[in-house]
């Protein structure tokens, strides 16, 4: 990228392509654009990814402010409304699962808890587990992957074999077994918090090899590049090379894999709660709602549709956004 001259008289004709860029961007102060800025420009043009991103943002806001939203709506996720339940069938009396002005998405069968409030609170669990377990995986994967790739030798062998082992490990079965032997109190946490903590750690722990392998591969190819050679010949230390030369060039694949990991983790959390080893009652979770909806899929289908849609929309939004981020950061990558 060339920098245009600042003389107002300069009438040197730029190439047509450059002219177009200058015209659409800020005509006055066009500077050299950073990698992030270029990616952002590309992302902004991808309408699908952008709408995914907006939904993700909304979900995060909804999760953060769930208590406020529900109190404005006058609902509590754990409050029973049995007057809205038909005692003969255990299903809501109103149509469409008891949808009314008060209960916008209806109420649960048997106990009449407000579904909207539970969906909002469920979003907290889903996103919390999805994000934090991704963070755990990224930290572990990046550190171990970069070390394995950079040092090679026995470090590489050990880390690679550990990754192979973990990839072959039946993660879901392990968590189910782990939860059944978990104590009720752990490190001062109680009840659902213990389960959330364990889920974050375990999902994150089993997730790091996916990132670790990518980071290791990238590091292997990057460490032989000229600029690393140059740094080394100028006497740069290992730490300097690792964090100042290699890591910045690994940011793109790490970001891409993180966006890819979050929806998968959300699905894993839903699956665990569905199987009854996720959060404990009465804490709301989408997977747990789906699980209890099975008994009512005919008599009260709305109860199954609502949490199903919540999971669907969330995963779709994250995936669309993640796709966009990848395209933006690395347009040459094949699909």
């Amino acid at each position: 990228m060339t920098a245009p001259l600042h003389e107002p008289t300069a009438e040197a004709a730029p190439s047509p392509a450059e002219e177009a860029t200058v015209a659409t961007a800020d005509a006055k102060a066009v500077q050299g654009r950073s990698l992030g800025r270029i990616a952002w420009e590309r992302l902004k043009r991808d309408k699908l990814a952008l709408s995914g991103g907006i939904v993700v943002l909304l979900l995060v806001l909804v999760a953060l402010f769930a208590p406020m939203i529900t109190s404005i709506l006058g609902q509590d996720p754990n409050e029973y409304h049995e007057n809205l339940i038909d005692p003969l069938f255990g299903t809501p009396t109103g149509s469409l699962g008891g949808i009314s002005g008060e209960h916008l998405l209806g109420v649960e069968p048997v106990n009449g808890r407000d579904i909207l409030a539970r969906i909002l609170y469920g979003a907290r669990i889903s996103l919390l587990v999805g994000f934090l377990s991704a963070v755990v995986a990224v930290i572990l994967g990046t550190v171990l992957g970069i070390l394995a790739g950079f040092f090679g030798g026995w470090v590489d062998s050990v880390v690679s074999r550990v990754m192979d082992g973990l990839l072959a490990f039946p993660q879901l079965l392990f968590i189910i077994a782990l939860v059944s032997v978990m104590p009720n109190d752990l490190l001062g946490l109680t009840g659902s918090n213990v389960r959330v903590f364990v889920m974050i750690l375990v999902i994150g722990f089993f997730g790091w090899p996916y990132i670790g392998r990518v980071v290791r591969g990238q590091t292997l190819s990057l460490r032989e590049r000229e600029y690393v050679e140059a740094a080394r010949s100028l006497g740069a230390g290992r730490l300097y090379i690792l964090f100042k030369e290699l890591l910045p060039n690994l940011v793109a694949p790490i970001v891409v894999y993180t966006t890819m990991m979050i929806p998968t983790n959300i699905l894993t959390e839903a699956a665990l709660s569905f199987l009854g080893v996720g959060v404990k009652p009465p804490t709301a979770s989408w997977g747990q709602m789906l699980s209890s909806a099975i008994d009512y899929y005919e008599s009260d289908p709305m109860y199954m549709v609502v949490p199903g849609l919540a999971i669907f929309i969330t995963v779709l939004a994250f995936n669309l956004f993640g796709d966009g981020v990848r395209d933006a950061l690395d347009p040459k990558a094949s699909r």
């Binding site: 003969l88 255990g90 990839l167 699905l267 005919e298």
Partner: protein, 599 residues
């Protein structure tokens, strides 16, 4: 979700979309016709037509295949080892006892009537000697006569708990309270009939000599664990795979968890059996892993009835109630569903804290969680189920659970908390089986209503197949801090002894498989049980049963949820159908017939 990290995210999205589409299409089913309460074009007898009365007795024809379906196999088909009520009920097809339950609907079905014996016991020696004479013409499936020695050997098998575990042990406890006899497999006498408490002076006579009288002894002999077993046919722990038949049907094939087929025992003679009508030619059971699938097959008419007799699942129940009401009965099951407070876990050592939970709970909410008044049952107000003599039903309601306090009485509960020294409430843990969604729902209901009186509750869902080692172990209960345990109990035989002894007697507290979860050590209750077993007249027994129930309720050890009811299905083709208190409100299997044997 597990290892396919690298596959396309779009694929995930498509899968999710397909799932949602599938959900939306299933939503379109439902609604439909109404058969009404009375008999219909389909031939169904009508709603509750077989509840405590006989439906369509005259329509039963000989022959055909009676088809059972079940979501759960029996614990064992060995007469000594089975403990499921449905197994006892079904075992009458291939086993006979000295005495058995009357083949009559309702309360009469719980009375004892002679079967192999010519008449009920001749009781002498202040209730310590029981003498029976065997009927003529009673035979095994190979045509040999059933002798008093076969009956004795069958009963002796109860002593072999190391090989044949699982069944009720009342006979052993009553006939040999000190445990002197070691069982037939360790018996050193030549004929293996070394048990001294039973005498067989000849092949037709059998005499029981009890060390201490027990007024329910004949009820115990009516259990299938008192069935005869022939020594040369005893395959010990494998006997449950192919029991040797003394009844009208014999085993043709059995694959555990898959299917079972009984065919006619041609050696059985109708004239020798006053109980069994033996209408069908064959009886089959098909086992399912999914209750919803079973309900579908019942609704479609492929199967005649549910072997388990524990009610339909919510899904099938709703469809059945809306579209096939005439095929349903709504009997009282004889079970009480309840929460119990182990006194070893503070603050439940204090009666006032126990009362606070009983008063603070929302009983209508608990009833709804159990399935509502029809599928769940009436609000439980005390611990004695209505089918047991001496029970008063909802008339005895010391905590006003079905009346004034049915929505929970927060003021009184808080007063009780104050008296307990916990004015601001406390926190505790509910233990609930993870394989019983209805019990988890009641735990959640309890959690929600107790929150209002400041009692914070954590729900621990334990492996429901490990009950004996988890909640049945008092030291584990204490270690885990299970202040509230959710359970249910039905009578082994309809008497306060058959229901309450394992639950309330201090003698029954044990380190594993304990059922006295509250750890009740009340001399008054123990004394009443001692008095009960020596009281021989029915009026006296009834009065003591009522007193025991009152003592238990006054101790506030239990929070009863419901006197349970079921919604049970009978097909259009079933005839001579009735529920019996002898088997906790189940249909009496042994006399079911088919209207159209060719179907």
């Amino acid at each position: 979700m597990t290892t396919q990290r690298t596959s396309g995210r779009r694929k995930q999205a498509i899968a999710a979309a397909a799932a949602v589409a599938a959900l939306l299409t299933t939503a379109a089913c439902g609604g439909g016709s109404d058969d009404g309460d009375n008999g219909s074009k389909t031939g169904a007898a009508g709603f509750d037509a077989a509840n405590n009365k006989v439906a369509q007795a005259d329509l039963a024809k000989k022959g055909g295949t009676l088809k059972f379906g079940a979501a759960q196999d029996a614990d064992s088909w060995d007469t000594t080892r089975g403990y499921y009520g449905m197994m006892w009920n079904f075992a009458r097809y291939y086993s006979r006892q000295l005495v058995t339950n009357k083949a009559e609907p309702g309360a009469a079905g719980a009375e004892v009537t002679p079967d192999l014996a010519t008449e009920t016991a001749k009781v002498t020696d202040d209730g310590k000697t029981y003498t029976y004479t065997l009927r003529d013409g009673v035979t095994w499936e190979d045509g040999k006569p059933i002798t008093s020695k076969d009956v004795k050997y069958g009963i002796e098998r109860v002593w072999a708990q190391d090989v044949l575990s699982g069944g009720p042990t009342y006979l052993k406890d009553v006939l040999d309270p000190k445990g002197e006899y070691k069982g037939p497999y360790k018996d050193t006498s030549a004929d293996k009939l070394g048990l001294k408490a039973i005498e067989t002076p000849d092949d037709k006579t059998i005499v029981f000599k009890l060390p201490v009288a027990n007024s329910d002894f004949e009820e115990m002999l009516a259990l299938v664990s008192a069935s005869p077993v022939r020594q040369d046919m005893d395959t010990k722990s494998k006997y449950g795979l192919k029991p040797f038949s003394s009844g009208p049907y014999k085993f043709a094939s059995y694959s555990p968890g898959k299917d079972l087929k009984l065919v006619r025992n041609t050696e059985w003679k109708q004239a020798s059996d006053p109980i069994r009508k033996a209408y069908p030619d064959e009886i089959t059971i098909q086992f399912f892993s999914d209750a919803n699938q079973l309900d579908q097959r019942l609704l479609s008419g492929d199967l005649d009835l549910d072997l388990n007799q524990t009610g339909m699942s919510p899904q099938g129940r709703t469809t059945a109630l809306k579209q096939h009401k005439g095929n349903l009965d709504n009997p009282v099951s004889g079970y009480v569903r309840y929460a119990v407070f182990p006194q070893s876990v503070a603050p439940f050592d204090n009666i006032e804290c126990r009362k606070a939970v009983i008063l603070g709970a929302d009983h209508v909410s608990l009833q709804t969680a159990r399935g509502g008044p029809v599928a769940g049952g009436d609000i439980g107000t005390n611990m004695l189920p209505p089918s047991v003599p001496g029970a008063e039903g909802q008339k005895y309601d010391p905590y006003k659970l079905a009346t004034d306090n049915k929505g929970g009485n927060i003021a009184e509960a808080k007063a009780a908390l104050k008296a307990c020294g916990k004015p601001n409430g406390f926190s505790t843990t509910i233990a609930v089986r993870n394989n019983k969604p209805v019990e988890v729902a009641t735990a959640q209901s309890l959690q929600a209503s107790l929150k209002k009186i400041g009692v914070t509750v954590e729900i621990d869902q334990y492996d429901g197949s490990q009950t004996a080692g988890i909640i049945g172990s008092p030291s584990n209960v204490k270690k885990k801090g299970y202040g509230i345990i959710i359970m249910g109990w039905g009578p082994d035989f309809p008497s306060v002894q058959g229901f309450g002894l394992p639950l309330w007697s201090s003698k029954y507290i044990s380190e594993s498989g304990n059922n006295n979860y509250a750890l009740i050590k009340d001399k008054a209750i123990d004394g009443l049980f001692d008095q009960y077993v020596t009281t021989l007249d029915d009026a006296g027994k009834t009065k003591i049963a009522t007193e025991i129930n009152h003592k238990v309720m006054e101790g506030a050890y239990y929070l009863p949820f419901v006197f349970e009811r079921f919604i049970n299905w009978r097909s259009d083709n079933l005839a001579n159908v009735y529920t019996t208190d002898g088997y906790s409100g189940q249909y009496d299997f042994v006399n079911l017939g088919l209207k159209n044997p060719k179907k």
